[in-house]
Symmetry: C2
Subunit: 361 residues, 2 copies
């Protein structure tokens, strides 16, 4: 120790004044080992052997200097940044916000930063983001929402996905997509079946559905569950479409009310259901006295709206966390399958659904 004291002290001072932040060579110098050894001693998952005494010395020096590795320099070698991205259609939508919350928590507990990219439901914006992400060499990308089946979109997305796979990045989907990616998603079809059966069991026959855009597979899966059950019951199905926004839900409900007179409406998302509820109130119709309404997702905050919405609970935060876990397993090579893991959903019967008019007397 005393032998190297003088140069070490000089180095310490110069490191402090020159760049403020200590770098690996400062640690190596302090511990009187080579750069390589310092690197190996500091990296927990480096298999190369390092003697306990040496490791202890390096660790001590690192602690003393408050050394933190430079993520960029590391990334330049490892070819990946310790960041995962989550691509959503709209951060403002509680459904996505909740997924983001779950994913962020899971990622940060593993030392990963989370980038949230909100496309505002514009495919081109989404493509721009994904290009950016692939160039930034993020470790993984989680797609929280669905994609388009359109040719141009698919081709560009395919290019970026290939590029990401090429540098060893992972991709996970949390909604049904045409791409063959590892996926964790809610059991949309089963959920839709549950609500429709519930409505049928209450005695409704004129059950309409407000679905999302036909371009999104999530819409189609939820429709499928509805159609299956309606057909099985010999009831006529009516599907109108909106865009998964609250305003869209309100507009769709208005159309439904003008054209048909459903006694119950299954809305493919709570966000849209909120709009449907608002429109019914605006027209002076009671829920569930005049019209029963059921949603899908069970977004947070529902406990504060009136009447309390019957819906299908989707474990959003869990989905986000599962996506991160899947990503990590992929990165570690433990699970590179492209299978879809379905997460169970649950019908939450609350106040917005009841027996139809004719039967409540």
């Amino acid at each position: 120790m005393s032998r190297t004291a003088s140069p070490a002290r000089r180095e310490r001072r110069s490191a402090a004044t020159r760049r403020k932040l200590p770098i690996l060579s400062d640690v190596a110098q302090q511990a009187a080992v080579s750069l390589t050894t310092a690197s190996r001693a500091l990296d927990p998952d480096n298999s190369h052997p390092v003697s306990d005494r040496t490791r202890a010395r390096v660790l001590a020096a690192a602690t003393r200097l408050a050394y933190r590795p430079n993520p960029m320099a590391r990334a330049l070698r490892t070819r990946r940044v310790p960041t995962i991205a989550i691509v959503v259609h709209d951060v403002t939508d509680p459904y996505f916000a909740e997924i983001v919350r779950g994913a962020t928590a899971a990622a940060s507990s593993r030392g990963f930063l989370t980038v949230v990219c909100s496309s505002d439901r514009d495919p081109l914006t989404e493509l721009r983001y994904v290009e950016m992400l692939s160039l930034s060499r993020v470790s993984g990308v989680i797609f929280a929402g669905g994609g388009l089946d359109e040719a141009h979109y698919r081709r560009r997305m395919g290019d970026y996905a290939r590029s990401i796979a090429h540098y060893g990045g992972a991709i996970v989907a949390l909604a049904p997509r045409s791409e063959r990616w590892p996926a964790e998603m809610p059991d949309n079809r089963a959920g839709a079946r549950l609500v429709t059966q519930h409505l049928l069991a209450l005695g409704h026959v004129r059950i309409a559905m407000i679905s999302g855009p036909a371009t999104l597979r999530t819409s189609r899966e939820r429709e499928l569950g509805y159609l299956e059950v309606m057909e099985g019951a010999g009831a006529d199905a009516v599907v109108v479409r909106a865009d998964f926004t609250t305003a869209g839900g309100a507009a769709a409900m208005a159309r439904l009310l003008a054209d048909r007179s459903p006694s119950a409406v299954f809305v493919a998302s709570d966000t849209m259901a909120l709009g449907a509820l608002a429109e019914l109130r605006r027209q002076g119709l009671g829920v569930p006295e005049d019209v029963s309404v059921a949603g899908f997702d069970d977004i947070p905050g529902l406990e504060f709206i009136h009447p309390r919405l019957t819906t299908v609970h989707v474990p959003m935060a869990e989905l986000g966390a599962a996506g991160v876990q899947r990503l990590m397993r992929y990165l570690e090579g433990d699970d590179t399958s492209t299978t879809t893991r379905l997460h169970a959903v649950e019908l939450m019967v609350r106040e917005s659904t009841g027996r139809p008019r004719g039967e409540d007397s």
Copy 2:
């Protein structure tokens, strides 16, 4: 051209097979210039002169190869990654979600990625995030919410802020903080004054306030506006505190109803006001017939709740965008002031406020 055709073709092929993604040296080779020149020709804000012919050749080569610079390699030199972070208390809260939306849009239009860090209202989580960000050398950090005045928090935050400043990163606040940072924020005090005056003008005297945590300056500013006006009118002020969540707002309203019987309540955020409204409904009280309620923020989605909430409009998306712009100006050295820019707010009188009971006959 023909002279270099053969080697160029070979290089092109090898670049394609070896690493798939073209790098700067591929472009330089194709354009038959040095690495340096290629770099200069490609960088729009590099002042070093490059002849038009050369630049054109380099640009053509870059386009042909679909070259995109590696952000990590660039960051290793420039010491900053082209990413900005936005630290929020809760992504799930529409107030923050909306700010994030505005900031993300503004950042992406400038080629910056946005990292969203949600602390879930836990100061330690927030500190962990900021440390991570400082190590990642993000270009800037935007604090959407307030901070603590507590010693440990302030010291650690100060350390990270210094470290960020040291590598040339910028920090901007969108809420009042004890730190001396550039800030863009809503005129909280003026907004609170407006609502209180509105309630007073309607004839209310027993006007209570549900505020946020005492540790947050936003709460204090909004309280101040309320207190000022109440005092000026010679009315008794009552302030109860909640935590800026919907559930907290509901609980605070329940307490208020039990202890006092206010004819009007000013709630320091719409998110809490939603809870207050739910609690009033639960207790069978009419709004505004029995109690008037006013919020703050004008979060999106309010148009679908009933009764339509009287509130103070805060330009959230604009605030997010202004934060990004301020950050950019700081990074470019155009504006390194630590002044606070106040954004005007506006009273939105809607349905949840009316004359008090005694006066409506």
